[in-house]
Symmetry: none
Subunit: 224 residues, 2 copies
Amino acid sequence: MNRQKILIVDDELNMRTLIRSFLTAEGYGVVEASNGLDALRLIEKTSPDLVLIDVMMPFMDGYALVEEIRKTMDVPIIFLSAKGEEWDKVKGLKLGADDYLSKPFNSAELMARIETVLRRANPAQPKSQWIKAGPFSLDQRNHSAYVADREILLTMKEFQLLAVLMQHKNNVMSRGTLMEMVWGMDYGGTERTVDTHIKTLRMKIGEKGTVIKTVWGIGYKLEV
Amino acid sequence: MNRQKILIVDDELNMRTLIRSFLTAEGYGVVEASNGLDALRLIEKTSPDLVLIDVMMPFMDGYALVEEIRKTMDVPIIFLSAKGEEWDKVKGLKLGADDYLSKPFNSAELMARIETVLRRANPAQPKSQWIKAGPFSLDQRNHSAYVADREILLTMKEFQLLAVLMQHKNNVMSRGTLMEMVWGMDYGGTERTVDTHIKTLRMKIGEKGTVIKTVWGIGYKLEV
DNA sequence: TTCAAATCTCACAATTTCTTCACAGAAATT
DNA sequence: AATTTCTGTGAAGAAATTGTGAGATTTGAA
């Protein structure tokens, strides 16, 4: 759950299998795509932490894929040059890739590049991406939420509201404070909106909904 | 030492005395001025961390005073509206006040505003909010109360009533004073309401309920 | 644009808290 | 002892706050 996801984009099944075996052995999660369109779809859907892209692929080649990805996402990208292929380093990096690697490569090489790129991508917050409190854990980057290993799907407001409550677990938060922290300092709406989101949060959390306590006359508290 | 200084500007002595008792009980340092000119002089001299200003004052009213202060200082300011007066929120805040409070107000309200404004002005002070007296301890921020490590659930009025008694432990508090401090200074209800809350407080406290002594003909006292 | 999801608001129901009152009982006063 | 004054307390209902469903509005993606 906490581990980082890597998307492999390569049209050769053997290559994907090989790389996946490297990555899973190191504890990374792996998602695979055999072409550019699948890759774009999977990036949307799974928000990988890193994308490995083979330059030479049918239909949409690596360069084109990077261009597409960069229109919407800022995910780190490493290029893999095809076997024996001439590598145009400058072209790849200019297009927005973060690093490149020429086949054949060995696992140590690959891991070293991956770690470097990932570290560069999240410089000062290796763990602040994750918030944990009681049965909850949130991945702020992926916007994914778990209640005791069960994933729940939250909207933006619900997610942020839960995040604030978790960051201040066991502390009462007034509706005003919550409004300030989630909606912004000078939001003009009614504070009762908080109640509505608390309602749906409790519903989505399910059984354990009672962990969000109402503190009468004050606000809400996440008690864990 | 490190405690924060608050300047009270109000022409009514009673009001200043009342507010001072709130503030000193909370550990703030207090400076008082009865008019705008004195206030300006004291701000120069003592550099308070916060200024409480009554809107209605002879000679220089609150609005004029804020204008003067803002010419040289950026100290946080909270307006107090005069008794029964119509509050022009927009005018006050536009002029540079950071918050406002309408009389009658109670100590908890005042403290909440003060803390919010001070925190906003100086965002690095995790000041603890615990009050202790005898077997009791209260966390005002979390609205949680303990009797000898056992948590008891108090309503707002009960909590504030106990807080006031604790802040003045071993001193007799008349019903009128308690009313003033918990309900606000010119609350219109009957003082016997205090009795009812004392009753439920004693019940919730349990065995040790007798620490709230009745002082016949005068009021109540927390004896610890 | 057009649609669907997300968000916000509102009204009313449900719940909790607060206040008042009346009367019983205790303490002081005569 | 009788009387007066004050306090304890249970209960009713007033008031305040929260829960919630439904519909309006906004946002975001295709």
